[in-house]
Amino acid sequence: MATNMSDAKRRMAGPELRQKRTPMLSDSWLCAIFIAPSVLMLALMVFYPFVMLIRYSGLTFSMLRPDVAPVHVGLGNYIDLLTDTGVWHRFAFTGKFVLATLSIQFTVGIAAAYAFQRDFKGRDVLFTLALMPMMFCPIVVGFLWQYMFNSEWGLVNWLVSLLGVAKIDWLGQSENALWAVAVADAWTWTPFVILLATAGFRGIPKDIRESAQVDGASPAFTFFHVTLPMSLPIIVIALLLRVIDAFKQFDLFVAMTGGGPGSETETAAYSLSKMAFGYFHTGQASAFAIILLVVIFGLSMVFVRYLTSLSNRI
């Protein structure tokens, strides 16, 4: 079933449709109605917690210790956090992790989407199978990869030993652990990239591709110079969403390394969860959350700027 312009034209041209002219709603009314429910939901769900977050970030207070009166420290929490080298280590590690997992997700994801571009026998089922990893519960994924990366009886080290390499301590050394967890995260979310990238690639009109081939372009050339550039917007959106999620990752680290050894594999989000729930330092955790939010926000702006420039180009 083609979904395209000519189809649309056909629908409108058909005689049976002529009777169905609907009453007009002005564009601005429609816009308001379309946006309203989302705004309402956001107002309900975001307003109170966000206000609380800001309020507590200026206090030294633990909700678990109401016996200790809150102390107004203004920007004190922020200063404490930003001058703590430990916090910078966490952010540096988080950044490294995001880069590592995103690089895997994207190279593998785009490659796989390239392969799923065209129709072939059984593509439906194979595509669903390819999407499976992201359907699993994240905690289970953490345990699965902890099991597979175990240095003694893990599948990965067994495969590695088949290649004649000595057993690697994947989870006990932070340099290896970074990649081990990145692989686990990429394994889970590459399907996300594949799904959106495939959607983009399959949308390229056939005649554009065909005309490129007629001009003598190889499939690779067509892919890199036609398909990929045209699908860039949706891919950038996928990238943006993945970066945001990768910054929040800590469940995998909880299951696989516990943040250790020492605190070397503790991401910013992991620190945040310890502060918020482990120590229950509500004030400090709120400030940290806002710092993290600003970082992710800043990064997202880069992507969004790029996206807008892309759409202006087209």
Binding site: L64, G172, Y279
Partner: protein, 476 residues
Amino acid sequence: MRLLSFASMRILTAVAGAIGFSAVMASTAMAENLTFVWHAGTCSDLFYQISKDYPDKNIKIVPDVVPYGPLWHDKIAAQFAIHGAGFDFAMWDSQSTAEFAGGGHAYSINKVFKESKYLKANLFSPLSLKLYGEYPDNSGKYWGLPVNQDAYGLMYRKDLFNDPKEKAAFKAKYGRDLVVPQTYQDAKQVAEFFTRPDKGLYGWGQMGGRPYDFATSASNPFLWSYGGELWNPKTHEVKGYLNSPASIQGVQAYVDMFKYGPPGSQSWDWDAVNSAFQQGHLAMAMQWYYFAGSNSDPKVNPYAANTGFGVTPGAIGLDGKFRREMMIGGQGIGINVYSKKIPEVIKYLEWFYHPAQQKRWAAVCQTGLLSVLESPEWQKLNSYNKSFTHAMTHMHHDYWHLPEYPQLLDILQDAVTSASSGKMTVKAALDMAAERQERVLEKAGYKITRTHNIPAVPNEIVNPVGSDHIIKESYD
């Protein structure tokens, strides 16, 4: 056949309806749910099973059980933080008592002792009450009742220790008899003897994982047995205690023992220790008594018939004194002060702590009820109960009983795992931890008064437990 006239039929249905309706209304009006939070396990399963036999049928005990891990603490903490009644009572780790009681979220057990006709302090072993419910230390104020007592003990392969060939080889090599070690110094030798990687056998297994309290639960018994201290509870000092020569010696001994465990065991939790032992890879292992039951089950542990349980070794410190200090575990039951059903909870606990229920309980989990603990039948119930009573005599030390416990624990876990992974020396790690912990205490408002001339073995001035000669414990 119309036995009843139409009118009487209607009257009858109306009456029946009224009776039924009021019965439903009565039962739903009267039925109360008492919710409890605990982590999943054989004990919570058993608790729920026992609760089904509660004679008052208007009360229903509803479990809100979480996986063992951070969520256990977080869930309880979250309810307390909002003064919520999401649960009526909960079992929390003994280490969390200070945090929850300190915030005023737990209902005073002293009040329970006063109000209840049956629940009194003398029902429980004083040590249990102290360990699982008292805050602050030595205040006589209780906030929890012991529900599951635990200790970090030793398990070992009896067949390896009793094997004549092994005994002969050991005697030839080390010049003394092969026995389950009484000191950590001895343990090193025995572990070395049994470490045969090519045969898949290692001498010693212990926890080393970063999450929660895994590493430090294993390193603390070493630290305390060598005469070290985590801090000085009276002066709030950490420097000079945590990084004293005795503490460093103890933690070093702990780190050294990883040589005799499988590679990668530095990140082990209690499950990994169990797995390795159950596959026959370990000659000795430190493990919670909680798992003694499943490790005695041949279905779980193929070596169950040859598995012995006992107390962990002691050590001779730099001052020449012998100490055997064990790590405490376990939980207490606390009542949520914001619950609207506290009288019902107390009534339920009165029933639960009756010897009849506690005998059922003790079959699987460690009871705190004195009458059951001291009964000969409990002692003979299995191979480890007797050993557990012994273990309780070696518990003079615990983590910090402060609301700041989570942070102090995290810092120590960081330090110990850094040391065992080789990233830092033990001294550097403990120095760093002491510095950071004192900062936490200062920020929390504790005044630190400095002691002059802290001895190399700080236990000498903090609740001394050393003896001049080795006190041997028996291992079957």
